[in-house]
Symmetry: C2
Subunit: 610 residues, 2 copies
């Protein structure tokens, strides 16, 4: 057992750093930092945490995630106490250009994942622990610092259940129960028994401790190492603002920095701070995951004109490209027989993780895996990704490399009705900076675009269709992010129709019927919705007098608005056909007609224009 | 205790209806319906449920919500067994135009809320129970039928904790544990003890029963009535497909209708079905909520040029307009001191409900309150509404009348950084059919628009700003949904700048500086983003040579794209300034400059155009 006197000194230094940096910033969360200072000092410098600060990306480093991201002053102070951040840099906290942002972001090299939206850290840690135990097979451990307030988020219980389901005994949660939330007391205050009962009911080992007693803290970390086949939650009773009497356990001090005068009083209370002392962090064993060799993916061969659902091709593609992308892992939310992720599960069961009906945790877990160098493909119904919009949004700020596949897009799913129809998914994924949104219309383009998605570093969304659609491309046809295909073209095209996915086939149907009347339309497969193929759009705008977009999605934030933005500086009229009525149950064709996005609707619109 | 023989007969009739209707439809979920048939027969016709079928909206009717919405065949079959749906209509299940959709929607008069996205029914029921106990003060009870698979959703645990926090002894959950999910077994199969331990750890009374024994079922409902100060969960062990041997407890039968031949075999097994028998539902006591009298809201009076945050004006407005809208209730997600909903809480504590950091449940609860005639105002940080996108999306399909207020919009919040910045909220709320999106720039317009929101029947989103902004309008100025204000105008305007919220003030700053150079711009306050003021936009398009939109939001699905759609048939160039870089921590002005949405950015763009 390490010398706790020395740790007490380091904890005091961490408190000191947390206080001076927030006062300098004029804002921030000192009280939420002080409550967890002893817990973090004990973890980082008590000999339990193994981390090579010179190699933050070392595959066998232990991982620490601040789920309570507002305690960032503590996070930065810890690393200052480790000698990795200078006092000078500490004083740049929250200033423009500083790596030390208001909530931890990946701009700071020791941040495992950007946090600040509460209730997400445990899922991210779960992903890292899953990676250690089942993928990289390394002994590193993952620690997650949690606030008591954020235990109200349902996502926490999603993570608790999946972590115990996968028996993650390499995952340790540290719950900082300081009783006070932002605007007052939490639902349970200091009733730690409630947390213990709940967390253990989810199959976790629980350890109740005084979060300001270093001996108890060290004993808990030691005990945690001995637990097998289940995760451990250390539930620590702490005091918000601990160490500064006039802010201790006081309401109204959340997210408030001390002014200069208050700081002076606080520092007087801290008494002598050894500002020269620095903590030692143990080094990890020099272990790395087994080398993974990449082999070229097999060729694809689909019979042209045969009908195959793009969601089915998605499943086929995952199996086909895995040899080429050995860092791939596949997650699905209890619908793998609908998304066809089950094809991958059957071929590579050790790389498939069933996430059950808990989409928030599924996305958080994918982020954790991504941050450990994996390439997660995550699937559920397009509609149900809305469940995890906050996790998706936050994953962008962690530079995630995740591929999302949403099946059952649009009203064309038919009888199941509105609750199952993804009609906002394009708008949602388009909002993410630098995101890629792909929407293939047949099996060949799906296979190719899944490959492109795996190549691309970043967030990619693949929109898949429920019903079978005819294969219109040769198996050797090539597709690229930012591309498009002109599938019908003549020198007398009156109008350009931009379709994608299901509506591309409606456009082709309209083409045939109009051709019989001697009306020719250009039909373009807009399989890359973000980025768009601007060059092709410009050409269509100059070649034809008007453009029609057709999408099985709501108008707002969809394909029509994307195209209008891309052609903002061209004065070609753009007519947008999209879902504008509350969808109902019915046959796919009935619904496409009802929403005016069918071949008939396209034909009507073309006639109206001419 | 009612005669169970008769109930057995009715349960058999319900099974019969569930089977024939799904076979006729050729799809649907018969097996998920059969597992809960006895539970529902016992509830509806066992004398416990009190409902006047002639008055579905009777304020004192008990409420039943099918959280496992895919069991809709059972739902419709129950009402057929009650004599409220003809066998003929039953056979229209899932057909276009039928009220009997694939998942229950409000098109069917006995549907309390549209369901089908799992894990939402308990929150909706919580809202209805909250209404009964604290608002309408009526003795009606709310029952929620839950699947075991959907218990993986975190939203369930958000609802469990809040329901026990509010001691809702008028809320009864009925968990149909049939062991099988869509693609296989649930995490816990028939381990009912796990559910019991978990649910009771959240403060609920739990009753374990055999879900196919009517005596046990009736005893449980009777017992449930006697529990005080806590909600009750009946955890029933059931068999998926119960009653038809060859589909009982079999994997691969989820969401699959029997073909004609299988149906014949199934009906032979059901043996004699009394198709003439109908069940009796008890009537509710003739009670109604106390009359609420509406008085005109007080006048507003703000000092012009004084600076007040719009989020603060939101809080003031709630208190001011409550007398005029006595059906109002206010919900907040543990940030009422930031959204200023706390001002309402202090004035009308009995109408304020703290929802803690659990946004999914907060929105589901608001839907339940809305379906009982209340007008919920729901607030949190704009960014955190993304947490509840699925619930928001689904609330639209229940014709919700909910007002959302998102504070801390955009990068202008400053130091807290990206995790706290709402930059996708406009895109998200715009996707909802018929939604209204409002974005006031000062306290006066906020007060007026909160009033307009309360008037409007439907979903309204109000976007609020963190920092204080100067009041630019007289207190008697009028604002309307679909309106806008021309705040700077001359006969030599070269460019029109469309701002909203924080950026309107940036546009005004740009106006002053450009004026000194003899350049005049028209400045318009686009406070109603959806619907837009088309007439004004057309006028600006014809009066000036180009238009600039400026928004503290990402480009996709935001104000720029909305304006481009509105002006699609005009050929005025539209330049869109929006957030296009990963935001950082910093001072509001530094961040507005960094993202090129500040007065300086507007000035640069205007010069570039001229």
């Amino acid at each position: 057992m390490p010398n706790t006197e020395r740790l007490e000194k380091i904890a005091k230094l961490i408190r000191y750093f947390s206080l001076i940096s927030t006062t300098e910033a004029g804002s921030g969360h000192p009280t939420s930092s002080l409550s967890a200072a002893d817990l973090m000092a004990g973890l980082l410098f008590g000999g339990f945490f193994r981390y090579d600060a010179k190699q933050p990306n070392h595959p066998n480093n232990d991982r620490l995630i601040f789920s309570k991201g507002h305690a960032s002053p503590l996070f930065y102070a810890m690393w200052a106490a480790a000698g990795e951040v200078t006092e000078e840099e500490l004083m740049t906290l929250r200033k423009f250009g500083s790596r030390l942002e208001g909530h931890p972001t990946t701009a700071f090299r020791f941040t495992e994942a950007s946090t600040g939206s509460l209730g997400q850290g445990l899922s991210i840690g779960l992903g890292m622990a899953l990676n250690a135990k089942y993928v990289d097979k390394l002994p590193y451990r993952t620690y997650v610092l949690l606030g008591d307030s954020e235990m109200a988020e349902g996502s926490q219980y999603e993570a608790l259940q999946i972590a115990s389901f996968y028996e993650l005994d390499n995952l340790v949660g540290i719950m900082d129960v300081n009783r006070l939330g932002q605007r007052g007391e939490t639902m349970y205050g200091y009733n730690l028994a409630v947390y213990e009962k709940r967390v253990s009911s989810f199959g976790w080992e629980t350890l109740l401790i005084d979060g300001h007693s270093l001996p108890e803290i060290l004993t808990a970390y030691e005990k945690a190492l001995t637990i097998r086949n289940k995760p451990v939650m250390i539930i620590a009773k702490t005091i918000k603002g601990k160490g500064v009497s006039f802010i201790e356990d006081k309401n109204g001090w959340h997210g408030k920095a001390l002014n200069k005068e208050e700081l002076a009083r606080a520092l007087k209370e801290l008494d002598t701070v050894d500002t020269a002392i620095r903590g030692e962090i143990s080094k990890p064993d020099e272990l790395r995951p087994a080398e993974k060799v990449s082999q070229k993916a097999a060729q694809i061969s689909y019979e042209k004109d045969k009908s195959v659902a793009t969601r089915h091709a998605y499943g086929n593609a995952l199996v086909r490209i895995f040899p080429q992308f050995p860092e791939m892992v596949v997650l699905d939310g209890e619908v793998s027989n609908s998304t066809f992720a089950e094809i991958f599960k059957k071929a590579y069961p050790e790389r498939f993780f069933e996430m059950y009906i808990a989409e928030q945790n599924m996305v958080g877990t994918a982020l954790g895996l991504s941050r450990r160098g994996k390439v997660p493909f995550v699937s559920t119904f397009a509609a149900f990704f809305t469940r995890a919009f906050d996790q998706i949004r936050m994953s962008r700020y962690s530079d995630a490399n995740i591929k999302f596949c949403g099946s059952h897009a649009g009203v064309s799913i038919g009888e199941d009705g509105s609750s199952q129809m993804g009609l906002e998914d394009i708008a949602m994924f388009r909002t993410l900076l630098d995101s890629v949104v792909l929407y293939p219309c047949d099996a060949v383009s799906t296979e190719r675009l899944v490959e492109e998605a795996a190549q691309y570093k970043g967030i990619v969304y693949i929109r898949a269709t429920r019903k079978d659609t005819p294969i219109i491309y040769d198996s050797n046809e090539e597709f690229r992010i930012g591309g498009s295909k002109v599938v019908r073209k003549s020198d007398k095209d009156a109008v350009t129709v931009l379709g994608a996915g299901i509506t591309l086939h409606e456009a082709l149907g309209a083409y045939e019927e109009l051709k019989n009347e001697g009306i020719f339309i250009r039909v373009i497969d807009l399989y890359s919705i973000k980025p768009l193929d601007d060059a092709m759009l410009y050409k269509a705008a100059s070649d034809t007098n008007s453009i029609i977009t057709v999408e099985d999605h709501f108008a707002e934030g969809g394909i029509g608005e994307a195209v209008r933005s891309a052609l903002a500086d061209r004065d070609v009229p753009i007519h947008c056909l999209s879902v504008r009525k509350v969808p109902r149950s019915g046959k796919p064709d009935e619904l496409l007609d009802y929403e005016d996005i069918s071949r008939n609707a396209i034909i009507r619109k073309v006639r109206e224009i001419l």
